[in-house]
């Protein structure tokens, strides 16, 4: 049974009095224990959809339910215990160690002054261990490589102990090795920690290899969703890009140039 569901959801943005609908009539499902990849070409509306799911923006229409409860009726604090976020915002965190940063993930669970108890500290250490950077726990964020920094951000979301983790382009700034490691990490977090992990990505081949489910935004702004194998078999992968000069090759799980 799906953990998060969208019902006739429409997302977009309002600028003054003008409302632009980017995606509409979305009936999507997110399952615990599954890694779900959101794919689509640039400007297709991946971030807009993720913003609605993380409640950064309001849906234009329809609603989102989590475990049957309407997301809009939950308080901000309740939501902070359900959805963890790793965004594309590049933040300068010079004066924070990995430990300090990951500890911030405990905020929804700590009291007014944010003091950590033994249980919180243990959760923080476990989160850092789960992403494999325990040896860097006392290093400053500014001393880490891009890949390690992204792992620390994921550990922060993990320490938040939410059933859902949403990541906007988590591999965008990473080199190939870190990209593969990060995708592998997210896959195992979903499976081993029974989390519903939703990420948007440009990296089609890695997403197809690692994701259990896909949300595919086609060039017609339709969202095709389902298990990865079914989507590949359905030929829907051909419908992402508007260019006539690329085609999807199921053998290499990636796109290639198609001479006219």
């Amino acid at each position: 049974m799906a953990y998060l569901e969208t019902h006739q959801l429409a997302v977009g943005y309002t600028h003054g009095k003008n409302t632009t609908t980017v995606l509409s009539d979305l009936n999507l499902e997110l399952h615990r224990g599954h890694l779900t990849a959101l794919l689509g070409q640039n400007g297709a509306g991946k971030s807009t959809l993720l913003r609605a799911i993380t409640c950064t923006t309001r849906p234009l229409h329809g609603h989102i339910t989590i475990g049957g409860a309407d997301l809009a009726t939950l308080s901000q604090r309740e939501r902070s215990r359900i959805i963890g976020l790793v965004s594309t915002d590049r933040i300068t965190l010079g004066g924070l160690t990995v430990n300090d940063l990951v500890a911030l993930g405990r905020q929804p669970h700590t009291g007014f002054l944010g003091r950590l108890n033994a249980n919180d500290r243990e959760t923080v250490a476990e989160a850092i261990a789960a992403v494999g950077i325990t040896h860097k726990a006392n290093n400053y964020m500014s001393d880490l490589s891009d890949g390690e920094r992204q792992k620390a951000m994921i550990a922060r979301a993990l320490a938040q102990a939410t059933p859902i983790i949403v990541l906007d382009e988590p591999t965008a700034f990473l080199d190939v090795a870190s990209r593969i490691e990060t995708m592998q990490l997210l896959h195992s977090l979903a499976h081993d920690h029974d989390k519903a992990v939703l990420l948007s990505s440009h990296d089609v081949s890695q997403s197809l290899l690692m994701a259990d489910d896909l949300w595919l935004i086609t060039r017609d702004r339709e969202v095709v969703a389902g298990p990865t194998q079914d989507i590949i078999a359905s030929g829907a992968m051909q419908r992402i890009f508007t260019s006539d000069n690329v085609e999807f090759n199921p053998d290499i799980l990636d796109y290639q140039y198609k001479p006219e």
């Binding site: 959805i83 004066g95 924070l96 300090d100 911030l104 002054l113 944010g114 938040q160």
Partner: protein
């Protein structure tokens, strides 16, 4: 927090506390009048030294001045820290963003418009300094509202600084226009106030001054958790359950009160608010507000006492505080700018 960082934090607090005591004692001992240390001790302990002039100098001048300076330093420095975190901008501070100038404009309007009758904060009647204080609060509040409005429109933190500087120019020009219609006494008291001065708070005014600052500092300490969340930016802070709009408003109210109270009583003190949070970050090597905020309070008090000590020991009388703070502040700001440039 690991062992290394907590040890470093404890050492920092000890060093700053010892420094505070040394500077406070130095401010008691040294000044334009030489008073023997033994007599100073007697007076501080509540006994008379036998010299009425000395009793008055220590009890009604030097002790209130030390309290005023320490609280002003702490208040402005915490203002700076809150502004730096709220606007995610290392170069933010109450003077550079125009908050002090806004408070100053409020003070000028009260001082000059009343034609010197409410001439200065040094005035003894309760009504006079309350009016000045209200003027400062309104002025600081107005500038903060302008800054909030612009920060929603301009994303760049450099642009926000430029807007702050422009607000300062505008306020300065309004003050000049007011000067042209004010009487001489009003202008004189306003100009004197503008030099910056920690000896303007009388024993009678001390409760209002110190209580409003202490309450605001406690309020700031209670905001440590959302302040830390804001280090990650508003989107992450909201995801962590922080109501960022309300938090920012609370932080700016605290900043406004701290800056306005100090500005009304001591004049527009430059640089302290911008510089001290960086000194605290440098000493503690962390951005975690649980460590940074107490350190900023202590370091702010220390720097203000140091400025006071220099100010009262000039060869030809008192040196204005605002002649001293840039000498400490400017090199540190240039260092910060160069470091930021290297990073990008």
């Amino acid at each position: 927090m690991n062992h290394f960082h907590s040890t470093r934090h404890i050492i920092t607090i000890i060093v700053l506390t010892v420094l505070f005591l040394v500077l406070a004692v130095a401010c008691l001992l040294f000044g334009s009048v030489d008073i023997p240390a033994a007599s100073v001790m007697d007076i501080v302990m509540g006994r008379s030294s036998g010299n009425v002039a000395w009793d008055i100098i220590i009890g009604q001048s030097r002790l209130p001045m030390i309290t005023t300076a320490a609280l002003a330093g702490a208040a402005l420095s915490v203002s700076g820290l809150l502004l730096q975190t709220t606007f995610n901008n290392p170069l933010a501070g109450p003077s550079i963003l125009g908050v002090s100038t806004g408070a100053g404009l409020g003070v000028a309007i009260v001082m000059l418009a009343t034609g010197g009758t409410v001439s200065t904060i040094l005035g003894t009647s309760a009504g006079s300094y309350i009016a000045t204080l209200l003027g400062a609060l309104l002025g600081a509040g107005l500038v903060l509202i302008i800054l909030i409005t612009f920060s929603a429109i301009v994303r760049s933190s450099t642009m926000l600084l430029i807007i702050g500087i422009l607000i300062s120019y505008l306020a300065a020009s309004i003050i000049s226009l007011l000067n042209s219609v004010a009487n001489e006494e009003g202008i004189h008291s306003y100009v004197t106030w503008g030099f910056g001065n920690f000896s303007g708070v009388s024993v009678e005014q001390m409760p209002v001054y110190s209580l409003s600052i202490i309450v605001s500092l406690i309020a700031a300490v209670l905001m440590v958790k959302p302040l830390n969340a804001l280090l990650l930016g508003t989107r992450y802070a909201e995801n962590l359950g922080v109501n960022t709009h309300r938090t920012r408003n609370v932080l700016l109210v605290i900043t406004g009160v701290l800056t306005a109270v100090v500005t009304a009583f001591c004049g527009p003190i430059g640089f302290l608010g911008l510089v001290v949070p960086h000194v605290a970050r440098f000493m503690t090597a962390t951005s975690n507000h649980a460590t940074l905020l107490p350190t900023t309070i202590l370091a702010g008090a220390d720097v203000a006492l140091l400025c006071t000590l220099i100010s009262v020991n000039g060869a030809h009388g008192i040196i204005p505080i605002n002649a001293i703070t840039p000498i400490i502040g400017v090199p540190i700001i240039i260092y910060i700018i160069l470091r930021e440039l290297r990073r990008t």
